[in-house]
Symmetry: C2
Subunit: 269 residues, 2 copies
């Protein structure tokens, strides 16, 4: 008699992500991935022509909170084998943004027609990867409760610039009660590859955010009197920074619409 | 040739505490111990007649954040050998409060004349024990900067009552910038025997504190626009709770004037 394999948890996540990936690949599913397949790591994707890779790699190294680097792939490589057995970066993200000479020119569900042999894929950690841990601790995540994308804001906090890459940090925001905020800091400190601990709490104006109800990306959520806004580094930062550089062309995921991998956080390193 | 002993750090702390203890014992030093001998554990002291010990022990067990129990001594035991080689609890605290039938009747520098054979000493963890770790992380502690006692407040947060022991949690408060507050949460989470992580952050009114400039115990400190008040459980809680019970007599340290032990935090358990 064969012993049953004791990895039901992971097996069931992989089963879920397989079918989700099919509907993303076919273009059916183009929503935010926040809250989807809790337990599996989600990543920010930046696709850059090879000529910019050296400087951007250095930029990630110098900005690990906004840009926690999970993997960089060989030029032309669109199958991201280190992240999952069947991930094609050209089709498996719900929505992509295409930037040309500093302007967002297109939002697409598939970038196969744009693929170039000199494209290099960067996978950067995403805060969606720790949301399940917050939920397991009993914290409710406002944007998930109201079925919205997370709120993201440009700040006045500068990144450490490298070459043409410069600009301010973008943050994601989740409102919590004070006691929940303390728990959220404790928990997310354990996830450095998913932006780690918050970079700011309360007092949005101190980091240049003047209206929480007008996020730069994603959706606004309600914040009541007993909630404090808690701000984490966000993988939309490189989109802004690379766009500032007005390089001829690059591609990213659309904010909040991530690549879902086959990996548990514990499998990353 | 004898090898030099490689414990200079601890040796130098013991040297400092020895001479400080002498001046406390002689009555010369009766100030707050906040910031003194950074690195050595400071403890809250509760001295109760034996008849109340069972219920108070249970109270500590049910309220570990306000009352982190470090040690309980045998009835009549005034030399606290587990905390240091030469600690006499009757003389080695800068100031004591004596409570009789629910009223604070005396503040004394020495309680030798009041000692009873049925007195049992409880040593409870104190947040002063983690202040050095905050300072090592580059955080400045407002009350130390201005040479004051820490601010402490009665809250509306109930303790878990046991028998006659009931009442609300007392908190200590330290103001920090948002980024410092996040670091303070990360660091103090590692000190569960010194009250651990804060229980509240920002929004004092949510825990029944209506004026930060009027602390219930200790001194007020300035809080500027860019600071958030951060609240930790406080070992003055048992003073309030036991006093509520109106038991015939008990003795404690005066708020902010702790017993300094010979122990590093790592030596506690």
């Amino acid at each position: 008699m064969q012993k049953p394999v004791n990895n039901n948890f992971k097996e069931s996540l992989l089963h879920t992500v397989d079918s989700l990936r099919k509907s993303i690949r076919s273009g059916e599913m183009d929503d935010s991935t926040s809250g989807l397949v809790p337990g599996l790591v989600q990543v920010n994707i930046v696709i850059l022509p090879k000529i910019w890779v050296h400087d951007f790699l250095l930029f990630c190294q110098k900005n690990p909170i906004a840009c926690p680097l999970i993997d960089v792939f060989d030029a032309g490589q669109f199958l991201l084998k280190s992240l999952g057995k069947d991930i094609d970066v050209r089709t498996d993200i719900p929505e992509y943004c295409v930037f040309v000479n500093g302007v967002k020119t297109e939002v697409k569900k598939d970038i196969s027609d744009l693929w170039q042999d000199d494209f290099v894929v960067f996978a950067l950690g995403c805060s969606f990867s720790f949301e399940y841990a917050l939920q397991q601790a009993g914290l409710s995540i406002a944007n998930l409760e109201s079925n919205r994308n997370v709120s993201m804001y440009e700040t006045n906090v500068p990144t450490n610039s490298v070459g043409v890459f410069q600009g301010n940090v973008v943050v994601s925001m989740r409102p919590f009660t004070p006691a929940q905020a303390i728990k959220a800091i404790q928990i997310t400190s354990q996830f450095p590859l998913a932006h780690g601990a918050p970079i700011h709490i309360g007092k949005p104006e101190m980091i240049g955010i003047h209206s929480l109800s007008n996020p730069s990306f994603g959706d606004a959520v309600e914040i009541n009197e007993e909630h404090i806004p808690v701000f984490w580094g966000c993988g939309v930062t490189p989109q802004v920074v690379i766009n500032n550089a007005k390089i001829p062309m690059f591609i990213t995921h659309a904010p909040g619409k991530m690549l879902i991998t086959d990996k548990l956080y514990s499998e990353l390193r």
